[in-house]
Symmetry: C2
Subunit: 344 residues, 2 copies
């Protein structure tokens, strides 16, 4: 079968070659119906546009690895979606690898960098506890995105990072609850061994309570269960269920992720509590589904799209030697919806 050219497509459609080109390249300046017709003819004739061939060449043998702790989290799903668009845009392949909670992400990365094609690594979530020497073995640039900070003393010139200030944003939420008259605020948080965002968000909680003249009480600090998946709906559900059985007075629950909060909301409902009339409920992250649960979830929204895009931009700038390592801190946004109300 002879190869079909763009001229053949133009001829069949009765339009000019430049119109076909506009259709292929998603150019805005084309009638949608004409575009649809052209795309249909292209499909029917198995025409492979030239730029595919071009991309194909550029794409050869280059990849970015994305190492994720907790792929099941909606927040990361959205990050990954945007990262993938950006990586594809640069004609790189994205190698996605999930890292278990107890698995060492630098070990995983060290295996991946043996691949000659790998040009950079994005660590998503989790936290790194490794020595500078060990990280130096990675040989390719890496960026920590929404990841806990490296230990103190670590040179900030050897890696990039993109995150919100977890302590500050968590403070913002708890301060909002305090200012609305809540005093008995439970926090659904990370395990005590956590040295990552979980620790930072707990610090923000404690600081906000203190600044509002409220004592920090251990009985209101509810760490996730270690036998269940971290940050999962089930973990939020089970921890809240067990907490409610203890009948400790409490007017608000702040969960350090929206998924935990949605799990907590179900436990509250099952135990006969009304949100927000009996207990206010707040999350963190700003995942899309928070708008659709009933009642809709008050949350601290991370600008996930901007953060993912910035992550990719910084990494590609470094790969292209256009920039040095950078540390970018984004502002979160307190989004008040129906799951919280003032305590009178």
């Amino acid at each position: 079968m002879e190869e079909i050219t763009i001229k053949d497509i133009a001829r069949i459609c009765g339009v000019g070659v430049s119109t076909v080109s506009r259709a292929i390249n998603n150019h805005p300046d084309i009638n949608p119906e004409t575009k649809e017709m052209i795309m249909r003819v292209i499909k029917e004739n198995n025409y492979v546009p030239n730029n595919s061939a071009r991309n194909l060449k550029r794409q050869d043998a280059k990849a970015i690895a994305v190492l994720v702790k907790g792929i099941n989290n909606s927040f990361f799903s959205q990050m990954i979606k945007v990262l993938e668009e950006e990586i594809k845009e640069k004609s790189y392949a994205m190698v996605l690898q999930h890292v278990d909670y107890d698995e060492d992400e630098v070990e995983v990365a060290l295996k991946l960098v043996k691949e000659k094609r790998l040009r950079g690594i994005i660590f998503l979530g989790g936290y790194l506890v490794h020595s500078e020497e060990k990280l130096a073995q990675l040989h390719v640039p890496f960026i920590l995105s929404t990841t806990g900070m490296l230990p103190k003393g670590f040179s900030r010139n050897t890696y990039s990072s993109v995150a919100v200030d977890d302590t500050k944003e968590s403070y913002k939420m708890v301060d909002y609850l305090c200012k609305n008259g809540h005093k008995d605020i439970a926090i659904l948080c990370a395990r005590k061994t956590d040295a990552s965002i979980g620790k930072l968000r707990l610090e923000g909680y404690k600081k906000a309570l203190k600044d509002n003249g409220i004592e920090v009480r251990e009985e209101l600090i509810l760490p996730m269960r270690s036998d269940l998946e971290d940050y999962s709906l089930e973990n939020g559900y089970m921890v809240t269920k067990e907490f409610l059985e203890k009948q400790i007075p409490c007017t608000a629950i702040f969960a350090i992720s929206d998924m935990l909060a949605i799990g907590a909301g179900k436990a509250l409902s099952d135990a006969g509590y009304k949100v927000p009339e009996d207990i206010s409920l707040a999350g963190f992250d700003g995942v899309e589904i928070g708008k659709y649960v009933i009642p809709s979830l008050t949350t601290l929204k991370q600008p996930v799209d901007s953060m993912a895009r910035e992550t990719a931009r910084i990494l590609f700038d470094i790969i292209g030697k256009k920039a040095k390592h950078q540390h970018c801190v984004f502002d979160g946004e307190l989004v008040v919806r129906d799951s919280t109300m003032p305590r009178t």
Copy 2:
């Protein structure tokens, strides 16, 4: 720095080499505290176990591509998580690529196969409308997982597939609603142009109505909006909102995905309808969050873990020349929760 060996670790820990090996390989026959101590010493000394080196070698230069239509869907997130575990287990890299609704997945795949490392392709979701000749250009084995069938006349010896029988499972749900006294059942479904699972699920709906002596009415067939993301929460919300404004009598809504159903539930709540007292609501897929929304969602659960594992198993069998192409149909399960009730 001289390289640390397993013997050094054993010496520092005061245990035998075999104990260190058991710790590293997650062998059950080891005291948890000893294991923790060993793993800490390993970390502190930056010891890289030999089996990492072994994996590293095996891992070199082999990859499986996963092409996904709709990465934001919780159902696919779970599929991808399991696929990735299975692919990693075989020491392959997983290259994940999202394909837009209007993008041609075979084009994307054709670019990827130019990569010499690629050994197989998993198409997740969507549907293929291509000629056998074109698919033959892929050169590596591929499998359609939860993807609409290929056009008739296509030889089933050239590809594998894993899916539920979408028509049959959709029938099951609608038949359940009919048997519970519902007659005015709306379906939140795919656009008319859809030739994929959306079409099959709509067929199941129509067949179930007919078999229960209920007329199919166009006004109760609610296609997703083309200007919003397919199968998204927002699409479910908007289509339901617009439907409710028309005040067409209806006692149940069946959405062909759980995400659409959750969006629909919010629209119902915002419009003052109670689920299930005023209108019953059912979804399809069985995503985890369906258990946690309020009220919990009745759904048709696909066995996502088994389907993902089977997808990987078949593909690797074909790559290893242990088997020919296979077509595996899984049974779904009707899961009745709180969002539906009988109509008396």
